[in-house]
């Protein structure tokens, strides 16, 4: 464990002074800030009726925004940028001549990126709450300060969204190892986004197998797809976990057996 933490700490040193950190901070803050601006500029349309918790609207707007490709692209960009540190500096050959197993190098990268993604959600929660209360203070008519957000639902959304991320994360982790050129994984993500919108517009049932749709499906499950639960998780989140397992296995095998750096 000590060894793993030590190695992961080297990954954090490598990420120092890179855009990856800014991406996590800006990524976590952008959507709450954007929704706050919408609430402040359109506040007269958003004054809640009696008995209605205004945080529900704040939550819905924020999470739908997050689900609509925002989190997907955050994860794709973060993964590309992080793995590009080695590609860009041509440092793979140095790492492979150090007394460390290739599998350890692989898991260091994987765990560090998962920590980064988790950090995104951890930062998102206080920023989102802070933004909501700030909007409430500026526009008391919105009554955000008179109510409180549903913290349990917020935490649950973060966990579900994280799980929904794992599928595309694993796909892009593999792509970012496979291709030195960042444009290729990003182009695939754009294509994935376009296909998702087409599937959504066409109300296609098979959308449940398409990993680029999972974020939005978590926030707003498509009405035309029968909701199946596997315990705590809806079907698409189970598929996300399945994609994660398949693509991490693929990238692990590629990294350990074939990848030359």
């Amino acid at each position: 464990m000590h060894y793993l933490l030590k190695n992961i700490s080297t990954e954090f040193i490598k990420s120092k002074k890179t855009f990856a950190w800014w991406l996590v901070i800006i990524g976590a803050g952008f959507m709450p800030a954007f929704v706050s601006l919408v609430f402040l500029s359109k506040w007269n349309h958003l004054v809640p009726q009696a008995g209605h918790n205004p945080w529900d609207d704040f939550t819905e707007m924020s999470w739908k925004g997050m689900g609509f490709l925002y989190t997907t692209f955050f994860i794709v960009l973060l993964t590309c940028l992080f793995l590009n540190i080695e590609h860009k500096n041509n440092t793979w050959k140095h790492i492979f001549t150090l007394p460390i197993l290739r599998s350890s190098i692989y898991f260091n990268k994987l765990f560090t990126l998962l920590i980064f993604i988790a950090l995104f959600y951890i930062l998102y929660i206080p920023i989102w709450i802070g933004c909501g209360f700030t909007v409430g203070l500026i526009r008391p008519q919105l009554q955000l300060t008179n109510h409180s957000p549903d913290y349990i639902s917020l935490l649950s959304l973060c966990i579900h969204s994280f799980i929904a991320s794992l599928g595309i994360f694993a796909i892009h982790f593999w792509l970012s190892i496979r291709f030195k050129n960042m444009i290729i994984p990003i182009a695939i993500a754009v294509l994935g986004g376009i296909i998702w919108i087409a599937l959504y517009q066409g109300r296609v049932e098979e959308i449940t197998y398409f990993p680029y749709s999972y974020h939005y499906s978590t926030v707003s499950p498509p009405s035309w797809v029968k909701l199946k639960m596997f315990g705590f998780f809806p079907r698409h989140e189970m598929y996300s976990l399945l994609y994660f397992l398949i693509f991490t296995s693929l990238s692990y095998r590629y990294f350990v057996k074939t990848f030359k750096g």
Partner: protein, 301 residues
């Protein structure tokens, strides 16, 4: 004991294109082994094979007497390396670059200060690497290679791109490390004059084949063997005929006769022969072939 040993090492990037052919390297511990060869001869490929960066299917590479495949971690923990341009995180400081390797190698914290001092980069350690000159980057690469006090240093073209001062600094540092710490140094280069000055052993690679391997004495012998006498006289044609009666394969090139040098008695005999036939000697010069010429001769074959 050998630090590096390969037994009939072959390597091909594609099926019918052998890049390394039956390579039998033998690098003694405590030596400075110069690995020489023209561009494209397979030096970097060999080094990549030695460090496990390319697959060695036949498993015929031994470092410290151990098979590389089965003992990769143990071998790499005793080996420092620098392959072509140093691999550095340009957005980080020199110190951070060292700290990354230090943590992975589990080296003592004070080693960073020591290696920075050794390569004279202490004052620039907090500067970003992208602001370093090529020489500074090369020195930092060397510092990273030295971080864990390795027993073996494998350096691929360590003086590539350095100015004369930088070359001298690295050369002196390698000699010091070898003499004081007993580190075995395996370095490749195409800067022949540099290798000549510091190596104790030499291997010459040509088109993937090791065409020469030996110690400094073998090299001296080879150097002597390939030395020539350059003679200019009042009658070169006649002199050529006279010398030919006594010595093998002289050549008469324009204004001078070239004879393979044997020993100092040979010079005396030639002088005597020419003087006895009333030929005036204008010039008699012994030209010791330097390593560069030997290298060119060998690799042309």
């Amino acid at each position: 004991m050998t630090a590096i040993e390969t037994l009939n090492l072959d390597f091909a990037f594609s099926k019918d294109d052998l890049v390394i052919k039956g390579l039998n390297l033998k690098v003694e511990q405590g030596s400075i082994y110069g690995f020489l060869g023209p561009n494209g001869s397979g030096k970097t490929t060999t080094i990549r094979l030695l460090l496990g960066l390319l697959p060695n299917i036949e498993n015929n590479i031994k470092l410290f007497g151990q098979n590389f495949k089965e003992n990769r971690i143990n071998i790499l923990s005793k080996t420092g390396s620098l392959i072509e341009q140093p691999s550095l995180y340009e957005h980080l400081s020199g110190f951070d670059n060292l700290e990354i390797t230090r943590r992975i190698r589990d080296a003592n914290k004070n080693r960073i200060e020591k290696v920075l001092e050794l390569v004279d980069l202490k004052s620039a350690s907090q500067k970003k690497v992208r602001e370093y000159s090529l020489g500074m980057k090369q020195r930092l690469g060397l510092a990273i290679a030295l971080l864990s006090e390795p027993e073996l240093l494998i350096l691929d073209e360590p003086v590539n791109g350095l100015d004369p001062n930088g070359i001298i600094e690295i050369r002196e540092l390698l000699l010091e490390l070898n003499k004081q710490n007993g580190i075995t140094v395996f370095l490749s280069s195409h800067l022949l004059s540099e290798i000549e000055k510091i190596v104790t052993h030499l291997g010459i690679l040509s088109k993937g084949k090791l065409v020469f391997q030996g110690g400094r004495n073998d090299l001296k012998e080879l150097q002597n063997h390939s030395a020539t006498l350059h003679i200019e006289t009042s009658d070169n044609q006649k002199s050529f005929e006279i010398i030919s009666t006594q010595f093998k394969a002289p050549s008469n090139l324009n204004s001078q006769i070239i004879v393979h040098y044997q020993d100092k008695e040979q010079i005396a005999t030639i002088c005597k022969l020419l003087v006895e036939t009333n030929i005036d000697i204008y010039k008699m010069q012994l030209q010791n072939n330097n390593l560069e010429n030997i290298f060119l001769e060998i690799t042309k074959k």
